[in-house]
Symmetry: C2
Subunit: 527 residues, 2 copies
């Protein structure tokens, strides 16, 4: 039985705190010993990815303390409890089953009278069949024409993850002839969001996927009405242009307003739903179900790797532990996610939700205040764009920000140009290698303006190419990393009560049931 | 004469430090006094915008200390020195003249033997004429067809600002019949960036604007070659499809490879160049020169407002001072930028560069290390999207993150839908009003999971609609805010030496002149 204790009640944590400031990267990475460290400080991941942590501020002593912490915190047992179907989401009293959308790590999990893995597989099969029928021209618009665009209507996890995954594979799919339909996304309640997407597409040939677990998310229902109005104004029948992803018990589940409905349930949080039919419907329509299947295989392989109890062989667990050392021992308040891949342009925004919504909490899983810091601020932009922007602060600012790089040896589109003796892809990769060393080792200069203190830690995940499998593995890596950190901090990483108060107050504003400062601000905003 | 002193040498700073934790927002904003505070704590800005700081942790005492600090740090004098043409960029020994691209705040500034205001006006006139000739069909492609798309090739400030401004006005322009050409942007050296933009457009009807001040930016020249290859492969003549924005002395300036060349100079940093022809060429082509002119008018009006010496009447100065109080007295390490406007979706990315590249520094303008923290981490996403993502941490995380909201009473497209008694625009505005109060005042609940501590400060800039004038004023507000903070921290906010080391090392990697850890990482990345 797993024992849930606060981080500061673990003896390994005290040991770890004594190791603050221990490793100087400038020394650790210098000379031939530096090259040996790069060779040694790595963990193979799923789908051909490798996690490199040579530029993190760890050594044998820190790693040994982190391994002791993993053991004392029972990380592997807790993950096993989670995928085995224990009620891990203590706040909402729910199981946490997103791993089952892509594989079966332990025994069967039965809930609500059904085998949950079978349930998720069945929903994915339904979404795959639907996509195949659309692609085969069995589902057509009023004029008998094929659909060319799919538009996802959803917000939060129904938007950020699927959108990031779509952008991540769009060029790969075009290159590999599996691109079937363009995808667009409507999320914000700002009417300009929906208006601008609708102005850009051929409504008559667009299929909309409405995603709302409860069937009551106000932003999403509002945007649905917005879209339905537009369809009707164009003389089109909304029921011939819409599918729904919702829970089996929601009002949307059996409505004749939709061509089809695919089900999710309460055991999959929005930010963990990219591998459920929340991602599955839109991605199968965009790229074909086979590509989505490959994406799930990559995620399943990474989940399997995360079940390994030895943190030195488990990239997700090690990444979580090093992050905890940086946050709670070294005292760094933020982390930057920096994929050297334009296809991952919205991956940092997805990780921002995944991490900050899961672990941005001040009470433990029993509702007791914790006396240590928890989840950091997460931000990032892709590749060399960031270098010409906020890297100045990362290199020479007064705070140290740990960095999470991602890089691939080959591009997706395979089109390139040779300038000054190297291709663009080589320049891209040379830049990320150079940045790792510049951050870690710095450089002294007679001009203090041009001096770099170094000592800025980073890790990098390297792969051959951003394929569907690699993307699935990358997604799952970070999900599991965040989960392990939640275990370490003794948080419930699977609720999000912090989003509720704003909703309640917004309703009060719209009902004109306010006074004092809230009424004054509302008046200023013209409501 | 302005005297440049470190922050911790100012007596007002010591006074300010004694005021840590003074204001409890839960009390300050309660009851009728809260409404009065909202009415009082505001500063009118240019273009009909208003800066509201009632939900900041300030009171009469803190504001008085901040005013004393503004005075002692000679903020108004330093701004006057800057726009008057003093050499403010001490590191690179350059004037700082971006304000002259949109107005004349002081006397004439003569440099390099010319009146600089006249020079910038002339470049903008050239870009405007070029755009008019393209729109009028006087400049056509090889087949005599009109150009329909403009593609900016640039990185950093040549990309982030202009891209954010384009997205900010795209829907406004469509609604107001000033939309002339669609704009796209190629920035990343990742070949998939250029490949995916080129796959999406009609090359034969696209005009490319190459932006590189030196004419030597490797990423940009590489992407130019990428584009030229694609044009030639399509049987098109690159010289009939390209214009350049560069310095008068660059190799691009008088090349026959371009239809036209518009000039910038060393006195305008990339991140401050949106109002120069770096933004002017692409935005004039996209929306017409008249819209760009209106954008400049908004920026000029905000500059004028920033020259006011009394911080209680100067929104940019007050915003800077309160930010300094939050960073150096309250100890908050990051700031979130949260525009409740989908059109401002990339505005946070622009501010991230503007702020972090300007003030992410550890040495003062004389190259001496400073002993206080400087620029914070900046991040953000638009409107209600963030609510369903990282707001969890902002509300209930262990660190406090100050918030910068932006909101408009009216949408841009003017298309809306009434659901449950309110429009989408009303829901959007209700949400931001509700969030301000939820963050500031929180809410106690018997369930600690549902408790909100409050005490999380925010400000909001409110306007009627995001017009070209409002956008210009918003851009300039933040430029001037960052400038004032640089004055307070005694930094040179106008160089970026922190980006150099990575470039040097990347060249070494490409030349295979590395050993040790750098070679090992390069090998891993397949270079």
């Amino acid at each position: 039985m797993a024992e849930w204790k606060n981080l500061d009640k673990l003896s390994a944590y005290a040991r770890l705190q004594a190791l603050k400031g221990r490793v100087k990267l400038q020394e650790a990475l210098s000379g031939e010993a530096g090259a040996e460290r790069v060779a040694a400080y790595r963990v193979p991941m799923a789908a051909g990815l490798t996690y490199h942590y040579a530029a993190k501020q760890v050594d044998g002593e820190v790693l040994s303390a982190l391994a002791a912490l993993a053991d004392e915190a029972q990380l592997a047992d807790k993950f096993a409890a989670l995928y085995g179907g224990e009620m891990i989401n203590t706040g909402e009293k729910r199981l946490v089953l997103h791993h089952l959308t892509r594989g079966q790590l332990g025994g069967a999990v039965v809930a609500d009278g059904e085998d949950k893995r079978a349930f998720y597989v069945e929903q994915q099969r339904k979404a795959a069949d639907f996509a195949r029928r659309v692609h085969a021209g069995e589902i057509l618009n009023e004029k008998g024409e094929a659909f060319t665009t799919v538009v996802q209507i959803g917000i939060g996890g129904s938007d950020l993850g699927p959108r990031a995954m779509y952008l991540a594979l769009e060029n790969w799919a075009k290159r590999n002839n599996t691109f079937r339909m363009a995808a667009r996304f409507i999320s914000n309640v700002d009417p300009d969001d929906a208006a601008s997407v609708l102005a850009d597409i051929d409504l008559s040939r667009s299929l909309f996927v409405l995603v709302s677990k409860s069937g009551t998310t106000l932003e999403t229902l509002t945007n649905e009405s917005f879209v339905k109005n537009a369809l009707r104004s164009a003389g089109l029948d909304p029921a011939r242009h819409m599918a729904a992803v919702t829970s089996a018990t929601s009002p949307l589940a059996s409505s004749s307003d939709y061509l089809a409905a695919f089900f999710m349930d309460d055991y999959i949080g929005g930010r963990y739903s990219s591998t459920s039919c929340v991602g599955g419907a839109v991605l199968s329509l965009a790229f074909g179900p086979e590509v989505f299947e490959r994406f799930l295989e990559g995620a399943a392989a990474a989940d399997k790797a995360a079940a390994e109890p030895d943190p030195l062989k488990n990239a997700a667990m090690l990444d979580a532990l090093i992050g905890l050392y940086e946050r709670n021992v070294q005292g760094y308040p933020a982390t930057a996610v920096l994929p050297y891949s334009q296809a991952l342009s919205r991956f940092p925004a997805h990780l921002q939700q995944l991490d900050m919504e899961s672990n941005g909490k001040s009470v433990n899983r029993y509702g007791e205040p914790v006396s240590y810091v928890t989840g950091p601020v997460i931000f990032g932009e892709p590749g060399t764009n960031g270098q010409h922007s906020f890297y100045q602060l990362l290199h020479q600012g007064t705070d140290i920000v740990p960095l999470q790089f991602v890089g691939f040896r080959a591009s997706q589109a395979g089109v390139d140009v040779d300038i000054q003796g190297s291709t663009s892809q080589q320049k891209l990769c040379a830049n990320v290698a150079a940045q790792i060393m510049a951050f870690a080792c710095g450089k002294q200069d007679a001009n203090p303006n041009k001096s770099f203190a170094g000592g800025r830690p980073s890790s990098i995940i390297i792969g051959d190419q951003l394929t569907p499998e690699a993307l699935g593995a990358l997604l799952s890596h970070f999900e599991n990393k965040v989960m392990f950190q939640g275990f370490l901090w003794n948080l419930n990483s699977f609720d999000q009560e912090g989003v509720q108060l704003g909703k309640v107050l917004a309703k009060r504003v719209l009902a004109h049931e306010t006074d004092g400062a809230l009424k004054a601000f509302s008046d200023e905003l013209g409501i």
